[in-house]
C-alpha cells in the first residue's frame, strides 16, 4: 500500500481523516498549530491530539482570482469554525458565492495533492459547503 502523510500536521489520516488540535487545560482555548503557550491565558498545559472532527460552519470566504504564480485560480478560500472547537483556514468547495457560504455547514474532504521522490503521497483537505443552511452547531 502506498505510504501517505498529511499535508499539514493538523490533519490526521488514521483511522479516518479528521482535524486534530490541542486544547488549553486552563481556559479551554483550542488551537490547530504548534504552540509555545496559550494566547488567551498564557498557560502551557495543553491536551494534545484532540479530535476536532470533520464538520463545522463557514465564518468567512473569498474567491481568489489572482494568486501566487503556479496556483490555479479561481478558488474559494475561507475559514470553518469546527463543531468541536478551533478554526481552520481552508479551501472551500461548492462555495462560488462567498457571502452565501458564510453561516453554512461544511464537511471535511481529503485527497492526494502530491507525491515525493520516495513515492510518498501528501494528503490535503478541503471543506465542502452544504446546500442547506446549517443551524448553529
Amino acid at each position: 500500500m502506498t505510504n501517505q502523510v498529511p499535508a499539514v500536521a493538523h490533519l490526521r489520516l488514521d483511522p479516518a481523516p479528521t482535524i486534530v488540535g490541542s486544547r488549553c487545560g486552563s481556559c479551554g482555548a483550542t488551537y490547530l498549530l504548534r504552540r509555545s503557550a496559550c494566547a488567551s491565558c498564557g498557560g502551557d498545559d495543553f491536551a494534545a491530539g484532540v479530535d476536532l472532527g470533520t464538520t463545522g460552519v463557514v465564518t468567512t470566504a473569498t474567491v481568489v482570482h489572482r494568486g501566487m504564480p503556479g496556483v490555479p485560480t479561481p478558488f474559494t478560500s475561507g475559514v470553518v469554525a469546527l463543531d468541536a472547537g478551533g478554526f481552520v483556514r481552508c479551501t472551500l468547495t461548492d462555495a462560488e458565492d462567498p457571502v452565501a457560504a458564510v453561516g453554512r455547514r461544511a464537511v471535511l474532504e481529503t485527497g492526494v495533492v502530491g507525491t515525493d521522490a520516495a513515492g510518498t503521497e501528501a494528503v490535503a483537505f478541503t471543506f465542502r459547503v452544504q446546500d442547506i443552511e446549517g443551524a448553529p452547531a
Binding site: A7, L32, S40, H65, G67, M68, F87, P98
Partner: protein, 396 residues
Amino acid sequence: MSEPIWIVGAEMTPFGRFPQWDVVDLAARAARGAMADAGLGIRDVQHVAVGNVFDAITGVGQRMLHEIGMTGVPVVNVVNACATGATAIRSGITAIRAGEADIALAVGAEQLGKRGLLAAPEEPRGPEFAARGRDGAVLDTEGLIGSALMPGVFSEAGVSYLAANPEASADHFFRIAEKNHFHSSLNPLAQYQKAFTFEQVRDADMIAWPNTSLMCSPTGDGAAAVVLVNADGLARLAPGVRERAVKVAASVLVSDPWVEDAEARWDVNGVTRLAAAAAYEQAGVGPEDLDLVELHDCFATAELLHYENLQLCKPGDAVSFLESGAPWRDGSLPVNVSGGLLSKGHPLGATGVAGVYEVVTHLRGEAGDRQIAGAKVGMAHVLGLGSACAVHVLVR
C-alpha cells in the same frame, strides 16, 4: 497624560515609482524637507527614528545621516509592518518624553523596487516530504489549503461584513474606491492622481472578490518625515514656525487583543477598535470633534469596516455613513482626502508618516486644492497585519 508634543515640520515626497532614487535618497529628501519646514538643521535634532520595511536590516537611519549630517545622535531603525512609519513617530515622541530630547526627527521611507507585496515563494524543498513550519506542512499550501495572501485576508474581512449586514453590498466597496481615487486627483503627491468611475472600479481585474485591482493599494516608493518637539523645543523656534505647530493630542500603538480564530485569520477589527478607543480617551476628544480622518484603506473593503472600528459612525451604520456622503471631501467627516492608500499609494514604511503629514497639512490650512476648510482636529490611523495598529489624533 504626559508631556505635550507638537509637530513643527512635515514633508512628504511624491509617491510612485522612482527607480532613480534609492531608499536613502527618499528618506533624506523627506527629512531635510521636514527640518527646513521647521526652520531647523540636522544639528538641532537630538533623536532620529527611521521606519522602513524592506531595507530595515541595512540601517537606513544611519545611512540617511551619512547623507545629511553625521551628528552622533541616537538613531533607531523601526519596522512594524504597515504601522512602521507611525511607530517611528512614536519612537520620537517616547524619546522626548523620556527626557532624552527636546527635538526629534521621525522618517518613513520605502523603495520597493521590483518587489511585489505578495509573500515571497517558499524556500525550495527537498525531494522527499518533510514537515516544516508551525503547521507542519510538507509542501507549499498557499492556494492549496486556502489563501493567506493580503488580498484574501481583507476580502474575507469584507465578506464577513456583508454576511452580517444585509444592507451592505459589494457596491459599497466599489464606491469607496471611487471616492478615494477622486480625492487623489486633487493631490499632486499621489501615485494615481486620477479619478475612476464606479463602473471602472467594479469592472477592473478581480483580485479576490470583492476587491478589484483598483481597490487594492498600489505598490510604490516614497518617504515622509515630521519634526517633533516638546515645550522647550517649541520655545526655540521662530514665531512663524511656532504658530504653525500642530499638537499631538494622542499617540497610541496596540497589538491584537485575543480572538478565538486568531490562528485562522487576521483580525483587522479588534486591534483598530482598541487603538481608537485609547486614542479618544488620551486626546479628550470624541469622533464628533474630528474634521478629517486618514485611515488605512490598504483594500477598499477595509475602509468600510474602519468607519465603525474608528467610531466614525455607530456600529452597523457604515453603509448609511457612506451613502450619506459623509466621507467624501465635501461631506460631514471627510475620509482619506489624500486619496488614501488606494490612490495616494502605500510605500509601506512611509505610509504611517504620510497619514500624519496629510492631517498636519490640513490643520495648518496648507493643503491647497484639497484643503478641508477650517480643519482643527484630525485622526491618522494605520494597521499593519500581525498586528500593529497606531492612531494619532492631531489638534491645531
